[in-house]
């Protein structure tokens, strides 16, 4: 892997420096705009302060963290987050995978049309999409329930029934994600060397065998990538819909860890709450990410 031995003409110091030069713009930007405030947030999470230079931050120790964990709906939010991730995965990974592969082999016209259609939800601003869905799903006057009613079933209270609301939000979030993931998977699919597929076909493999033995393994890293994204960002992706449509309700059934931390932390004017919330979110998901990365590494190792 390392090219140190292969290219002796390049001076040693430059070789060691080179990667860092390439990394510099990204690292500097992310370091300045994200890590520096985040590190500050670590510090501020132990204080109570209103951010103004005219007032002194007051040290309160672990109080902010205690307050957050003591919130009535905290554990419900945590549980809901798991539901969100599990519910989003089919829409964010499995279905787009099927669509990307299926449309790849279609004639160019229908492929482009289908992909464009799947993509269209992404162009609408989240707030507008939420408003339109709210009208469509209204229990008495929404088109969806009118259709359901004409088939003879009772109206479904999509956003008002505590048992159904979370699934509604999941489907609405998935509505945009399908296009997002299909695009990424289509790009990955397009990166697969067509001669591999040709070789398999010439060996007499059926279409399904080609998919199973050539495409899927090569798409595996992208699929893993998208799965990781769903686990780590699922709660954030549903935020706009929760905020506009349910406010975490009814009765906390649609809140998730991100929303509750936003509601009580980020959106409040109290720097202590907001910083503690940020730290909890970062460390919590950071831990999950760490565990997942490890698992992926082990799994890939075994595979070789």
């Amino acid at each position: 892997m390392s090219d140190v031995a292969v290219n002796p003409s390049v001076p040693a110091t430059r070789r060691h420096l080179l990667p860092w030069l390439y990394l510099a713009p990204a690292v500097l930007t992310l370091g300045l705009w994200i890590y520096w405030p985040l590190i500050d947030a670590f510090r501020l999470s132990f204080y109570e302060w209103n951010m103004l230079p005219t007032s002194e931050p007051r040290f309160v120790g672990w109080q902010n963290y205690e307050n957050i964990f003591a919130l009535q709906k905290f554990w419900q939010a945590l549980g809901n987050t798991v539901v969100y991730v599990v519910g989003l995965w089919p829409l964010a990974v499995a279905l787009p995978l099927a669509i990307a592969i299926y449309t790849h082999d279609l004639p160019k016209r229908s492929r482009n049309v289908y992909r464009a259609i799947i993509f269209v939800p992404l162009i609408i601003a989240p707030v507008v999409a939420a408003a339109v869905w709210r009208w469509l799903l209204d229990p008495r006057y929404g088109l969806v329930n009118e259709a359901i009613g004409s088939l003879g079933y009772r109206a479904v209270r999509f956003l008002q029934d505590p048992k159904i609301a979370i699934w509604t939000i999941i489907v609405l979030t998935g509505w945009k994600l399908i296009g997002f993931s299909t695009l990424i998977l289509a790009a990955a699919n397009a990166n697969i060397n067509p001669s591999l597929v040709e070789a398999a076909r010439m060996d007499g493999a059926s279409r399904w065998a080609v998919i199973r033995d050539v495409r899927l393994p090569l798409l595996r890293s992208t699929v893993l990538f998208l799965t990781l994204m769903t686990i780590l960002l699922g709660a954030q992706w549903s935020f706009s819909y929760i905020q506009v449509l349910t406010g975490g309700g009814p009765l906390g059934s649609t809140t998730n860890i991100f929303y509750i931390l936003w509601d009580f932390g980020f959106s409040s004017l109290s720097v202590g709450w907001s910083s503690a919330a940020a730290v909890i979110l970062f460390l919590g998901f950071g831990l999950v990410a760490f565990v997942l990365f490890r698992l992926i590494d082990r799994y890939s190792f075994h595979d070789n």
């Binding site: 464009a116 601003a125 999409a129 890293s221």
Partner: protein, 296 residues
């Protein structure tokens, strides 16, 4: 996942697969195709209908906004005229276009450079830096918004588009996606180029990048959209409508005295068109990336 394994595994698997010429089961094939078509049609309606509804609502007068008729009884462009008058849409669209374009190009550039560093070399601390970069993705912008606001203010950029652009010059998604794509790039090509005496810079721009067109195009689309639809950061920065972005403009119709849905949907429709255009233009690249074979 190691760099070469992805490419070698299926090639090695192929000779092992029994080359039985399978009799084509036509009936089964047709059922599968029919089901697939049905699924796609249902999906298409699911994806398109809300957008259709948005456009239809933008054509309805104020006292019919909540009607469920599939087409308004008196369709008119009044809402569009009102929206154009009430908010400086053209200025806002212009601002948003500038910001989204610059951010997209910047993230692609910084992403390519950083991804190259990860994909090409092994160096001390590379795993750590990679993880740290990936972790920034977990940090929702609201968390760092206020400190970034103070930073922007101290840089004197508060009333400028620069404030909207600077924090997004690099993005974790771009870096991760490009690193992923570069890792599966065939090693032999890079070796060959280096044997020819090419320096790292040339290898990146002339060998690797042209073959990542699909990934770059899809990334460009995604970054453009996410910047176009960004709301919280521009909201914090917006001081006057003429200098804000279109998302702020759309939400200006949500007032403390009620929301003007008709003009809002009209503004939203107008705001969606540029993105649709960008998609149509760039998506062709997503397909063609392996048409030119990179392996000599």
């Amino acid at each position: 996942m190691t760099i070469d394994s992805a490419l070698q595994a299926p090639v090695q698997a192929m000779p092992a697969a029994t080359p039985r010429p399978r009799p084509r089961r036509r009936g089964q094939g047709r059922v599968v195709t029919a089901t697939a078509h049905l699924v796609m049609v249902v999906l298409s309606i699911f994806c398109l209908f809300p957008v259709y509804w948005m456009v239809v609502t933008s054509l309805r007068p104020a006292n019919e906004i909540y009607d469920t008729a599939l087409w308004p009884t008196a369709a008119s462009l009044d809402n569009y005229a009102y929206a154009l008058k009430a908010i400086p849409i053209v200025a806002m669209l212009g601002n948003t276009l500038i910001v989204a374009t610059v951010v997209t190009i910047a993230q692609l550039a910084t992403g390519l450079l950083a991804a190259y560093a990860f994909a090409r070399w092994r160096f001390r601390g590379d795993k750590l830096v990679y993880t740290l970069i990936a972790l920034t993705w977990l940090v929702p912008f609201q968390v760092v918004m206020i400190p970034d606001y103070l930073l922007v203010s101290s840089l004197g950029l508060l009333d400028s588009l620069g404030a909207l652009i600077l924090p997004h010059v690099a993005g974790a998604l771009a870096i991760l996606m490009l690193a992923q794509a570069m890792r599966s790039f065939p090693r032999e090509v890079i070796e060959a180029a280096r044997m020819d005496g090419a320096r790292s810079w040339r290898i990146l721009w002339e060998v690797i990048m042209p073959n990542l067109r699909g990934t770059i195009a899809s990334l460009a689309i995604l970054v453009f959209i996410s910047t176009w639809n960004e709301y919280f950061w521009p909201l914090l920065l917006s001081r006057s409508p003429e200098n804000s972005v279109i998302q702020i403009g759309i939400q200006m119709f949500m007032t403390a005295e009620g929301t003007a849905w008709g003009p809002l949907m009209a503004a939203s429709t107008m705001a969606s068109l540029p993105i649709l255009l960008i998609y149509v233009v760039l998506q062709r690249q997503v397909v063609q990336s392996f048409m030119k074979s990179g392996i000599r």
